[in-house]
């Protein structure tokens, strides 16, 4: 089998759809050909990333226009947000962090565009162990954790205007989500390669950020 012939069969091989003599030939070729082994590894990685991504790659959709209108109606910031197209989970998380940084700093729209993280916050500097083997998803989960931290700080800054019982309820629900996150992490320890668990972990992080951003956004109306 030549390298070109192997290329034509590689998708089926990685999908587990290749059997019999062809499969044995391909396996023999891989054993003796480093470039083909690299291509096989890259393809498997690509498929693993794709399988583990959350179902919805779009970031929380209602946050940005509402916040933008609240903070500065009709500003260039709104135009920036309106024109933004979500392309990747990590990018979505990064934008959340940018917003959270803005809220945390209490500074103007220009600060948001820089997506700068507030350097003074130890909570934000902490990089937690996400429990995810896949580096792309691990980075996304870390981004979400940092975003949640920043939004929590923003919420703390609004303690004076928020009713105490509402804050208590929000905190109680965040605890429910944190328990769920812990449960998924524990499962990941047993099966780190499970795409379902990886996706569930990131989706649960996203849910936490979603809850926080909603409360923070509505609290800006007060």
């Amino acid at each position: 089998m030549t390298c070109h012939e192997l290329d034509l069969l590689l998708d089926d091989w990685v999908d587990g759809a290749l059997t019999g003599a062809k499969a044995r030939e391909l396996e023999l070729h891989l054993a003796g050909c480093a470039p083909c082994r690299d291509r096989e590894r890259q393809l498997r990685q690509l498929l693993a990333h794709a399988a583990a991504l959350p179902r919805s790659m779009a970031p929380p959709r209602d946050l940005w226009p509402g916040i933008a209108e609240r903070i500065e109606r009709g500003s260039a910031w709104s135009a920036f947000l309106a024109s933004w197209q979500p392309v990747a989970l990590a990018a979505a998380a990064a934008l959340v962090i940018g917003l959270a940084a803005f809220l945390w700093n209490g500074s103007g729209p220009a600060a948001v565009r820089t997506l700068a993280m507030p350097s003074a916050s130890p909570q934000l500097r902490a990089v937690t162990n996400t429990g995810i083997a896949d580096p792309v998803l691990a980075a996304a989960a870390r981004d979400y954790e940092q975003a949640a931290g920043a939004l929590l700080e923003a919420l703390q800054r609004r303690r004076a205007v928020l009713p105490a019982e509402d804050l208590a309820r929000v905190e109680a629900n965040l605890e429910v989500i944190d328990r769920a996150l812990e449960e998924v992490r524990q499962a990941l320890v047993k099966d780190p390669a499970s795409p379902e668990l990886n996706r569930m972990l990131v989706a649960t992080h996203r849910k936490k950020v979603d809850v926080l951003r909603r409360v923070v956004r509505l609290s800006t109306a007060l």
Binding site: R55, P163, N173, E183, A187, D191, M200, T204, K207, V211
Partner: protein, 291 residues
Amino acid sequence: MKPAAVVLATVLLAPVSLAAQTTVDQKRPAAPDGAVSIENMAGSVKVTGWDKAEVQVRGTVGEGGELSFEGSGRRTHIEIEADHNPMGIKSDLEVFVPAGSSVDIEGFQATISVTGVLGSVTAETVNGSITQAGAAKHVELQSVNGDVEVSKATGRIKAETVNGSVVVRDASGDLEASTVHGKLHVIGGSYDRAEIESVAGTVRFEAALTSRASLSIETVSAPVELLLPATVSAEFQVSSFSGRINNELGPAAEKRGKWTPQTELGFTTGSGGARITLETLSGAIDIRKRP
């Protein structure tokens, strides 16, 4: 305080409290398919669609608040304005709008209900329930601490809460529903696409799917109950890391991993067509025939 003193204080304070509220009743002409936005941070908002080309607001505005009611036919804005602490001003508004209107409501500690509006309905609150009834073509309801209920909406539907139940009845189209901690029930109706997520709240889906529909349900620790007609044509992909899977529509689930408790199940009923994905971490999954 002694009981008698409590009664006396109540009697003395009640008229003061009532006097501090302002009663409002105002109308403006409005387009039959215009946009109406309402902001009331505390209290309640009840919106009803009617057959008149005007918007009417009536109710009570809490002390320190003032009703702002403005618009130019196609766009009407209603807001309770406050100089300070809007959370302390509880206003109860009843708003009548042309049935073809699109309505956007924002509250914080407010309960919201919308009936008979046929345009789009968007509503958001932090602490309070939101209910919608009627054939609105686009519904988006979000609460944090409160129940959310959608009834008979069509088109694109989004219903979310954090601590509370989500119930969607007899709706159709494209549904996104989620909760963290509360039941999530989809009862009746027919969907082209339904995406349902729950962290710890029980999910029950008992509705029809169109021939090419996609349905996905994902929970972390909550059980999932799926009830479909025995004649459903669909491809199923079902998996749970540690929850039990019970299937009345096809084969039994099999353990996937040698070292983990994960079980999964893939099967097709009829000629396929619809795609159904169910995933949980520890919640049980029940796939049952709909009676």
